[in-house]
Amino acid sequence: MSDVRLRLSGVSRTYRGGAGVHGVDLDVAAGEIHALVGLNGAGKSTLMKLMVGMLRADAGTVEVLGRNIFGTDGVDWAQVGALIEYPLAYGELDGRTNLLMAARLRGMRGRAAATAVDGAIDELRLDRYAAVRARRLSLGNKQRIGLAAALQHHPRLIVLDEPTNALDPSGVILLREALLRRAEAGAGILISSHHLDEVARIATRISVIADGRIVGTLDPDGIDIERAFFAMVYTAEATTS
């Protein structure tokens, strides 16, 4: 299926002590915002690390834009934008230079890079911080730089781990609008979060992860998704304990 931007099949990765993710199947289609929700330690970040090669799966396969990420064909990573854990913001560089460096790491140079950076600065309202060194920025504004770096090249697949962390309400709205625009333009988007209200506003699909397993899905338009979420998580915990 050509419109699947990300597919995980039977993916497992177990840390010492048994934690990790176990037999996860998950996909993200073009034009879709797929939210992954779970409590702290449920396995969201581990799963996202597996998607960009920060971790190798013990079992199963991860396909990005139709290619196995450890296969010989090679994934076109220039078409992917990810922010997992810390934003790529070097303290000694100002906001704009950080974004130019992120563009260069995706093979963008000269005018193309400058245009992409200007667009991201405008979209996430970073103009006040464009000439400020990142070490002087607040955590929230560093996060905005990291998000701009992940989005500015208009990737076909976007993977964001807890993207609203440290963002102020205005940053949350700007991000929401940026993601909706990209999904409308055909990007496949996966975001992880533990803020149910936030993901319900933008997600097309919500998958629930608990104890490293996908334990069900939630209807983003459901009336009481918080209750449904906890029922799913507690049932899963009762089953595994």
């Binding site: 090669g53 920060m54 000694e92 770096a149």
Partner: protein
């Protein structure tokens, strides 16, 4: 190849704004030049007590004294400065958490690690050249006159010593990458420094790559110059090991 060019462009831009590299480079160049100049100025006094303390080489108070002192200090101080610089260049990605942003890119981590080594060596060459120029300025300012043939050879040796010292600091990159932080790189640098200096003082094992530049700086003869041929083994082995660590890297600890 394009990926490596992109990685070098990014790493060199980061390096140009890096306070650590500017301050370390300035400390080495001005520190060594000042120390050598002070020793030569002291050697030009007529006080026999001071002359006795300086020893026969430094007491001559000429270009030979200036360059011999600079070489001795560079062999130790240069290794420390270059080791700290390289530990920072590689280990800071782990310490700052920016390493997570270097996955899922068309520029591979192997290319980024290689670019870091290239930028490091370029920085070390610039610092070595600046130190050499500063020593010449110090010599003229002290009124040592135009350098003769031996002094010109000493100046060239000083520049080469800087570059060679940078090459033997490369294990710091491997240690900082393997240990995922600055401190392992600095610890390995100090270890190499101790090995080199103790071997020189004991007049032992001049053929060991880590020892050869320091030995050559103290005893620049044919044998010690020949021993320098093994120095490139250090960046080749530890440079390859560094790239391998970055290629296989998993953020699992």
């Amino acid at each position: 190849m394009n990926a490596l060019i992109d990685a070098v462009a990014v790493e060199s831009r980061k390096a140009r704004s890096a306070r650590v590299l500017w301050s370390t480079g300035a400390l080495l160049t001005f520190g060594v030049a000042t120390l050598a100049a002070v020793v030569v100025a002291a050697g030009r006094t007529a006080d026999p007590a001071i002359l006795a303390k300086l020893g026969p080489q430094a007491a001559t108070g000429d270009w030979t004294a200036l360059l011999a002192t600079a070489a001795q200090v560079t062999a130790a101080g240069g290794l420390l400065a270059f080791g700290v610089g390289l530990s920072w260049l590689t280990g800071r990605e782990f310490a700052d958490g920016t390493i997570s942003g270097l996955f899922g890119l068309p520029v591979s981590r192997s290319a980024i690690a290689t670019a870091k080594l290239i930028v490091f060596f370029a920085w070390a060459v610039v610092v070595s050249a600046a130190l050499t120029v500063l020593l010449l300025v110090a010599g003229f300012a002290l009124g040592l006159g135009a350098p003769d043939g031996a002094a010109i050879a000493g100046v060239a040796r000083q520049f080469a010593l800087g570059a060679l010292t940078a090459l033997i600091a490369v294990p710091a990159a491997w240690a900082a990458s393997w240990g995922r932080g600055l401190l392992p790189g600095i610890a390995v640098t100090v270890g190499i420094l101790v090995l080199a200096q103790v071997s020189v003082l004991a007049d032992f094992a001049s053929w060991i790559p880590f020892v050869a530049p320091a030995f050559w700086s103290i005893h620049p003869d044919v044998d010690s110059a020949l021993a320098l041929s093994v120095v490139p083994l250090v960046p080749l082995i530890f440079g390859a090991a560094t790239v391998m660590v970055w290629r296989r890297l998993q953020l699992d600890r």
